[in-house]
């Protein structure tokens, strides 16, 4: 491995000097910032119609779409994580039947596009009834929630499975040798650690879920992209509604990654606010803060 003296004396040539590479990175990053920032300022100052942007008609329609997306995201998020835990547990089951079924589920929902799944649910399922006899009116939103849940439960399931297999075998063995049953050992020892391992992957997937709601425009859910497309085709002005779209999606995804970061911090070993931190402080003295 390269040592300090190696890099300072430049045995790798000038290209390999730490300081040179660092400067190069800074120049590239700054150039990128100037280019993108300049383009952004130019677009915002020449392309965006601010009267239209602030007009209550458009703002109201985007607000309505935003609330609908938020509702769909919250429900499908909760459902897909709960269902995904079951899928993950199924994947590590010692029963061949459960394991295979869970594997088949994951293969299908990860292996076909979400758009296909939405079409099956929204266009296909109602056709099992006679023309006009399908009992559920306004099927688009329920179909969307079912599709997003089934699809993302597969990804969450795989994240949970990965989290569980990343917990060292010794944890399970130790718990079993203390007389715990397999289920109890899983619940008390393995899953809490697996959850921490899987959290980043699950959070990542849930952010993708938010962005996947943009596909719902093709099954006539009046979500954010639909409002954009409607305003763009009426006003023939793409940039103004695009600003709204960008801000609204980032509002959801950025607060979501904050939430995931918070959860990760909480479940971090060793840190003051993490589980071990709280435990060790709790045992070391009564005057420890309560995190």
């Amino acid at each position: 491995m390269a040592t300090q003296t190696d890099s300072e004396s430049g045995t790798g040539g000038v290209m390999m000097r730490d300081r040179f590479v660092k400067r190069l990175g800074e120049i590239a990053a700054a150039g990128f910032l100037v280019a993108v920032g300049g383009l952004l300022v130019w677009i915002l100052s020449t392309q965006v119609n601010y009267t239209l942007l602030a007009s209550p008609l458009i703002a109201g329609r985007f607000a309505e779409a935003f609330l609908l997306v938020l509702r769909i995201v919250v429900i499908s998020s909760l459902l897909s994580v709960s269902f995904g835990v079951l899928v993950g547990l199924g994947r590590i089951s010692t029963s061949a039947v459960t394991g295979r079924i869970a594997k088949g589920y994951v293969e299908f929902f990860r292996g076909t596009p979400l758009l296909f799944q939405l079409f099956v649910i929204f266009f296909g399922i109602p056709r099992l009834w006679e023309t006009g006899q399908f009992p559920i009116q306004n099927w688009a939103v329920p179909a969307a929630i079912i599709g997003l849940t089934l699809n993302h439960a597969a990804y969450v399931g795989e994240a949970i499975r990965g989290g569980i297999s990343a917990v060292p075998d010794g944890q399970m063995e130790a718990a079993r040798s203390l007389g715990m049953s397999r289920v109890m050992a899983l619940r008390e020892v393995v899953l809490p650690q697996a959850w921490r391992n899987a959290l980043a992957a699950i959070g990542n997937d849930q952010i993708i879920l938010v962005k996947d709601t943009s596909l719902l425009t093709v099954i006539a859910v009046p979500e954010i992209m639909s409002v954009f497309r409607n305003i763009n085709s009426n006003q023939l002005d793409p940039w103004t509604p695009l600003v709204w779209v960008c801000v609204l999606y980032l509002a959801i995804t950025m607060s979501m990654s904050q939430l995931v970061n918070g959860l990760e911090r909480r479940s971090n070993w060793g840190s003051d606010s993490g589980m071990l931190g709280r435990l060790s402080r709790g045992s070391s003295g009564p005057d420890g803060g309560d995190g």
Binding site: F123, G132, Q137, W139, I219, A220, S226, N232, N234, L236
Partner: protein
């Protein structure tokens, strides 16, 4: 070991980079080749040999939202058929002797796409209206259409006012959507509109009990109603009641279709207008019209 591996990894990365560049170049070349093939295929299929004779002229790319039966759609074999397709053959192929090809695109972004030079003209059963005319120039009208309402026979919707409080399906960005919005304001907002990407989605929604009615161009809706049991036009006297060629069901608006051009394309637009006049004169237009809409 580790020392021997390092160059291997570097070689691997270099190879990957070179391979990627070659693939990318191959894709771009492939695209060009593919387009050329399409052009030839269209020319042959539509008897555009005269266009090939002209050789040097560029292929006219026509943007169109397919399927929109009977104006532009593909049969089971994937052949492109329809009123617009045959008019295009008569105008661009026979009259102007040009090579042309249809390019599929979504309707709601079709005008932006034309202005971004993704194609030369739009032929997509497109109604001439003022908002659109601000961004594009239209040819002389080549078809008259009416916005009409499709409902299920089994439902209790028998007149225009029955639509109040209902949900209607439309295609996004169409004049059907605009007619639905007008109806919505007539009903003081008491009408829900669901916009689908393609008209087939709205038709599906009607059959699946998601919408009570579909508002769309009469000829396209008529095709669907004829093919599907239990789907009928909403009756009533509409805006077109006093026109002699008007359909005998409720009409919400009267519209005319035009071919759309970029605003800087006046010369070509004049040529096409001349060709449109010529096919009306020599009977080609009537022939095509009767083929698709004749009694």
């Amino acid at each position: 070991m580790a020392r021997e591996r390092t160059p291997n990894r570097r070689q691997y990365l270099t190879a990957l980079g070179v391979g990627g560049a070659v693939t990318l170049a191959g894709c771009m070349g492939g695209n060009g080749g593919g387009n050329g093939d399409n052009g030839n295929g269209d020319g042959n299929g539509n008897g555009g040999d005269s266009g090939n004779g002209n050789g040097e002229s560029e292929t006219i790319v026509i943007g169109s939202d397919i399927p929109y039966e009977p104006f532009e759609y593909r049969n089971e074999a994937g052949e492109l058929l329809g009123f617009d397709v045959e008019i295009a053959e008569a105008v661009f192929g026979e009259q102007l002797g040009l090579e042309y090809e249809f390019q599929q695109t979504g309707f709601d972004g079709i005008i932006a796409s034309l202005n971004n030079a993704n194609f030369r003209v739009i032929m997509s059963a497109m109604t001439i209206n003022e908002t659109r005319a601000e961004r594009v120039d239209f040819s002389d009208p080549y078809f008259t259409a009416y916005q009409t309402v499709l409902v299920l026979e089994s439902d209790d919707i028998t007149e225009r006012s029955d639509l109040q409080g209902m949900t209607v399906g439309v295609q996004r960005g169409t004049t059907g959507e605009a007619a639905a919005e007008d109806l919505q304001s007539d009903f003081d907002g008491d009408l829900e509109i669901q916009s689908y990407d393609q008209i087939t989605g709205a038709f599906d929604a009607l059959l699946n009990n998601q919408v009570s009615a579909v508002i769309n161009d009469n000829t396209v809706s008529a095709e669907f109603a004829a093919e599907t049991d239990g789907v009928v036009f909403l009756e009533g006297d509409g805006v077109a009641a006093d026109r002699e060629d008007a359909p005998d069901y409720l009409t919400l608006t009267i519209e005319e279709y035009g071919i759309a051009f970029r605003q800087a394309d006046d010369e070509f637009r004049e040529e096409v207008n001349g060709a449109l006049a010529a096919i009306r004169e020599d009977g080609t237009y009537d022939e095509i019209y009767d083929e698709y809409f004749g009694a």
